[in-house]
């Protein structure tokens, strides 16, 4: 059930496909410079949501798990905007964050999706869309969207619009 609160949205999904579909909807709305944080335990659906988001955004390569390489870069056919997909689980120190080139990643011509964003909270831009993925049971997931900043309140409203009509 959506909570009717400005800047927040609460959705329960009943399958991985449904979680991915929400990602796809969000992906179609992203603008260059957008930052999305996906927070959730292992198996909560962060990569599933990202895979959907990549499809909606138009990525030419599937958004697979970035765990091993830490950073994946995706392109799309329609323009030269890049979509970065990061797994921050193994980023601990300033040097770790520096070594992946976060400053270059967070540019005006790129969209960025962070998994395990709580690991690098001090380095995150203050304005972003934060999505909490909670495991309810078996296949059910609780997704809580929280907008931080004007741009993301607008994005969340648009998302609410295309999700609930």
């Amino acid at each position: 059930m959506p909570i009717l609160k400005e800047g927040e949205l609460d959705i329960i999904t009943h399958s991985a496909e449904q979680t991915a579909r929400l990602g796809t909807r969000l992906g179609t709305l992203l603008l260059p410079g957008d930052v999305i944080c996906l927070s959730g335990d292992m198996g909560a659906g962060k990569t599933v949501f990202s895979a959907g988001l990549g499809r909606g955004w138009g990525a030419t390569t599937p958004m697979s798990s970035p765990t091993f390489n830490l950073v994946h870069q995706h392109a799309r056919a329609k323009d030269d905007v890049l979509l970065y997909h990061l797994d921050c689980y193994r980023l601990k120190t300033d040097e770790d964050v520096e070594s992946i080139g976060l400053e270059e990643i967070l540019g005006p011509r790129s969209c960025v999706v962070f998994e395990w964003p709580e690991q690098i909270e001090p380095w995150l831009p203050p304005e972003h869309l934060w999505i909490n993925l909670g495991i309810m049971e078996a296949l059910r997931r609780n997704l809580v969207f929280k907008a931080n900043g004007k741009r993301y309140e607008h994005l969340l409203n648009e998302f609410r619009g295309i999700t609930y009509g």
Binding site: G40, M42, S99, N132
Partner: protein
């Protein structure tokens, strides 16, 4: 006689090797970082590149000394250019460039996945390869199914859409409280477990040669951990609790069966569909005995896999791949960059 020096530093092993004519190992040195990263339960990027910097000079010198040659005898220097961690790749690439300048020898930038392919040319005694062959590369970072029609000619048939097979092993290992790395520890636990205890799901995908392992990982979590109410406390985001009444060995054995079955089914099917003469498996997960046995049992074709020390990352495979690149007349300049994401297919070396 063609001598190639190989250098590999794409992830958590610093390695150098000298290979003769692409098939005979003259030396093979690996400085493993497993102990360093085991304490964290994974490879940490900054620690990894620092360890590479500390080890690389020593490792290269030892590879040259073991081979009993000096730099002037080399024909070329091959180095892993990608895919991998950017900080780690740069250490090897820069060291190789320095050597190329100092010795005047040509530089060859090699795709790490192609290295895993050429680890199959290093099995002894060497047997001639008749193309086409179907190759399954399975490791912590990769799950790739390829059709190889000639040296340097690859058609990518499929790969993972989410987690790599080895990554699924590592994550499930972490979930079950097993030490890092997950692969060998799950295999060990599985020996005393019942592989039929749980019927974990196999992903059905539109593309018959693609893989998905995030579903089986989530299914393991469902069976093995205490359910939560879905409301997460951000400070406790890593808190999962194992159920007391399930056998870790049974979970490990059933999980391994599910992953192995998927890998074997698709590889055997691809080999049949493309009239392959042989099935090759390589990469860290190809060290898994259950995978090797299942592949041999289900395939009518011969199955080739590297010796255990060449399954995991090493530089002999980079030197072997470098030999075929050298023979075809290809060279890289000192301006060569590293490529953290670099798929292996028919466009890998296209400009």
């Amino acid at each position: 006689m063609t001598y190639i020096l190989g250098i590999e530093s794409s992830c958590d092993e610093t390695a150098a090797a000298v290979v003769l004519n692409g098939t005979t190992i003259a030396s093979n040195v690996v400085a493993s970082q497993i102990d360093l990263h085991a304490q964290y339960g994974g490879v940490f990027p900054e620690a990894a590149s620092r360890a590479h910097v500390e080890a690389i000079g020593f490792v290269v010198d030892n590879a040259m000394r073991d081979a009993g040659i000096d730099f002037s005898r080399l024909d070329a220097i091959a180095v892993t250019r990608g895919p991998g961690l950017v900080g780690s790749l740069l250490v090897g690439a820069n060291y190789a460039k320095g050597l190329a300048v100092a010795t005047g020898k040509p530089l060859l930038g090699i795709n790490h996945l192609e290295g895993h392919v050429y680890s199959l040319w290093l099995t002894q005694p060497y047997r001639e390869v008749k193309f086409p062959v179907v190759i399954l590369i399975v490791s912590g970072g990769h799950t790739e199914l390829l059709l190889m029609t000639g040296h340097g000619e690859y058609q990518r048939l499929g790969g993972t859409l989410d987690d790599a097979a080895g990554e699924a092993f590592d994550k499930v290992g972490r979930l079950l409280g097993l030490p890092f790395p997950g692969g060998p520890n799950i295999e060990r636990a599985a020996i005393n477990g019942n592989p039929q205890a749980f019927d974990f799901p196999r992903a059905r995908l539109e593309d018959e040669y693609d893989f998905s392992f995030s579903g089986v990982k989530t299914a393991v979590m469902r069976e093995a951990t205490v359910a939560t109410d879905g409301r997460r406390n951000r400070e406790e985001h890593k808190g999962v609790q194992l159920r007391a009444d399930v056998s870790i060995n049974d979970i490990a054995a059933s999980f391994q069966r599910a992953v192995v079955q998927t890998l074997v089914d698709k590889t055997v099917k691809a080999a049949k569909a493309h009239d392959a003469t042989e099935i090759f498996i390589s990469g860290g997960v190809s060290a898994n005995t259950a995978l090797r046995n299942a592949m041999r049992q289900q395939s009518e074709l011969p199955v080739r896999y590297p010796p255990l020390n060449l399954c995991t990352d090493n530089a002999a495979m980079i030197a072997a791949a470098g030999y075929y690149r050298f023979e075809s007349g290809l060279r890289d300049g000192l301006e060569m960059d590293v490529r953290p994401m670099w798929p292996l297919n028919n466009e890998t070396y296209a400009r």
